[in-house]
Amino acid sequence: MDVKNKMVAESMSFYYGDFQALKNISLAFPENRVTALIGPSGCGKSTFLRCLNRMNDLIPKTRMSGRIMLGEMNIHDPKIDVVDLRKKIGMVFQKPNPFPKSIYENIAYAPRIHGIVRSRQQTDAIVEDSLQKAGLWNEVKDRLNDLGTALSGGQQQRLCIARAIAMQPDVLLMDEPASALDPLATQKIEDLVLELKKKFTIIIVTHNMQQASRASDYTAFFYLGDLVEFGRTEQIFTKPHEKQTEDYITGRFG
């Protein structure tokens, strides 16, 4: 099967001060596929995810070496504006963080500041479309002016997904998007991920092994800043090449 790679990290290392959090990682993310990043806490998977849209730029005293390519573009190229980069790479956080504005405004904000929409009709259309894609439209269509923060946790997270896809990104980063949600809301998010991969390349960090095996096509296992193993999800979960991977996914990690 021939799959194009949407995003590629090449010999990437990352440091918090003197501490090396990521060690020489090379990893490619196939287009329109879901790649899960798994590993124990502190293994660097979230750090890696935040490198992909340069959110780590916000943390002082960090540095990075290596290269990350989005298509043909080096994301650290000085000619690249970080605002444009983040427009192409949406992100959903662990804790739902809708803006304390109306549901409508939460979605309309990004398309508006990026000039994607010019008229009220266009904005209405993109709000409806994004909420449809995030599977939230039927629940909120009659109360678009309610505060986004007044929704339930699971709805808030889907609102954040809708907010991210409203700016029509190429890649969607998800940092443990379901870890703060109950099983039913988690189920909805997983279904959504499977639906959204038709349009976007999705990279998802998760602590939940079942989630990784259910929702992802590829899985990368990180341990102590190293990329231990990367492969198709069914291979990683059934016939891992590395002993460490096997120990971790079977819960025998010690």
Binding site: R86, P100, I113, H114
Partner: protein, 387 residues
């Protein structure tokens, strides 16, 4: 069995502790409220009389004699009781309108402060005979108490019966407007820069410490600063609302900076990250998200700072606003006084009649303060954000 007895005893002790704690809390509140009630009753008891003024009905005869000695225009039995503020107008009235000469009118005119005090049952310097004459006037229906419009419409005067608070209110409004105009933009911008843009290094930490120190500096120091910078260096007119407003703006700045920074700091980082993740620039993040979210806090801080500035006297003493200024200022560069300064001026005046003026002035100041604080609470409620 043993342990349930111990548990029961422990529970009783705990409940007793909670009851004691409640009792202490309630006593503290009762004590605070009783002080407040005492203060208010004292002020209102002294001050309410100032809202009425004594008037005497007299025939006024415009004559040549009255040109020389204005008191002669009034009926003989009230001559010495009529306020000089009324009497001194007789000659100028005649000059303006000579046709009045020889005519007479019957009018209610303001009585002098001693008559006023006697009529209101306060301590007076009138002697027995004079008091009897006043009693006679009252019996004839020629003495009445009416609402003291002069108090709200007029400026200060050496004659207690016509001294009013209006020029001080106008002065206060000018000063407060200028304070807000100068301190809010500068304060909010400084706080935004320090909190969101400035690097965290020795210099910015030094600035932070100094701002906190400035907030605790005695206000009179700001008066000296205002005197040397605004009046001596920039040549702002002394006693003017501009000098006072600028000085109080200096004093209010640290309060606004600190409260703005606190409310910016209270915005969770998840909002900043969420905004960055949808591709906002730093400025957009600040303007579209942080500023609106911290608006309630900024408003509250501003109003608290301004309310403090409104009641401030010490720095204004230095810039010359604590003076006898009877005229209503018509601009920000003219000599003006403010409410607390007016209250202080009256409190140190020698005539008894100024005691009630002082209390009434305090009542007016308290009402203005109350309105400001109520606005602050209303604004905070209106824009409060629930996470």
């Amino acid at each position: 069995m043993e342990s349930s007895v111990i548990n029961e005893r422990r529970k009783q002790k705990r409940l007793a502790r909670e009851r004691r704690f409640r009792f202490y809390g309630i006593s503290a509140i009762v004590l605070a409220i009783s002080f407040l009630v005492f203060f208010f009753t004292d002020i209102i008891r002294k001050g309410y009389k100032a809202f009425a003024v004594t008037e005497i009905r007299s025939e006024i005869v415009y004559s040549g004699d009255a040109m020389e000695i204005p008191q002669l225009a009034f009926q003989e039995d009230v001559r010495e009781f009529v306020s000089y503020s009324v009497a001194r107008m007789i000659p100028s009235d005649l000059e303006r309108d000579p046709s009045l000469m020889g005519k007479s009118v019957v009018k209610w005119v303001t009585a002098s402060d001693e008559v006023d005090q006697y009529a209101k049952g306060s301590v007076t310097r009138l002697d027995q005979d004079e008091q009897r004459m006043i009693d006679d006037l009252k019996r004839q229906g020629r003495l009445r108490l009416s609402f003291n419009t002069q108090f709200f419409a007029g400026g200060d005067s050496k004659l207690a019966e016509v001294a009013g608070i209006f020029s001080a209110v106008v002065g206060s409004l000018y000063v407060i407007a200028l304070t807000v105009l100068f301190s809010v933009p500068i304060g909010v911008m400084s706080a935004l820069y320090l909190q969101e843009f400035a690097p965290d290094n020795f210099l910015t930490r030094l600035i932070e410490v100094n701002i906190s120190n400035l907030a605790a500096i005695p206000s009179i120091i700001f008066g000296l600063l205002g005197l040397s910078i605004f009046i001596n260096f920039f040549g702002v007119p002394r006693s003017s609302a501009l000098a006072g407003g600028l000085t109080l703006a200096l004093m209010t700045l640290p309060v606004i900076i600190i409260s703005t920074r606190a409310s910016l700091g209270a915005v969770p980082d998840s909002i900043r990250h969420g905004a960055y993740a949808v591709g906002t620039s730093k400025l957009q993040m600040v303007l579209h998200h942080l500023l609106p979210l911290s608006m309630p806090g900024i408003t509250t801080g501003t109003i608290i700072g301004v309310a403090r500035a409104l009641g401030e006297t010490a720095p204004l003493l230095i810039v010359g606003m604590m003076a006898y200024i009877p005229d209503v200022p018509s601009g920000i560069t003219e000599a003006a006084t403010v409410l607390p300064a007016q209250i202080y001026t009256w409190s140190s005046a020698s005539q008894r009649a100024f005691v009630e003026k002082t209390a009434a002035g305090i009542m007016v100041l308290l009402v203005v303060m109350l309105l400001l604080n109520a606005t602050a609470i209303w604004l905070r409620r209106k824009y409060e954000i629930k996470w």
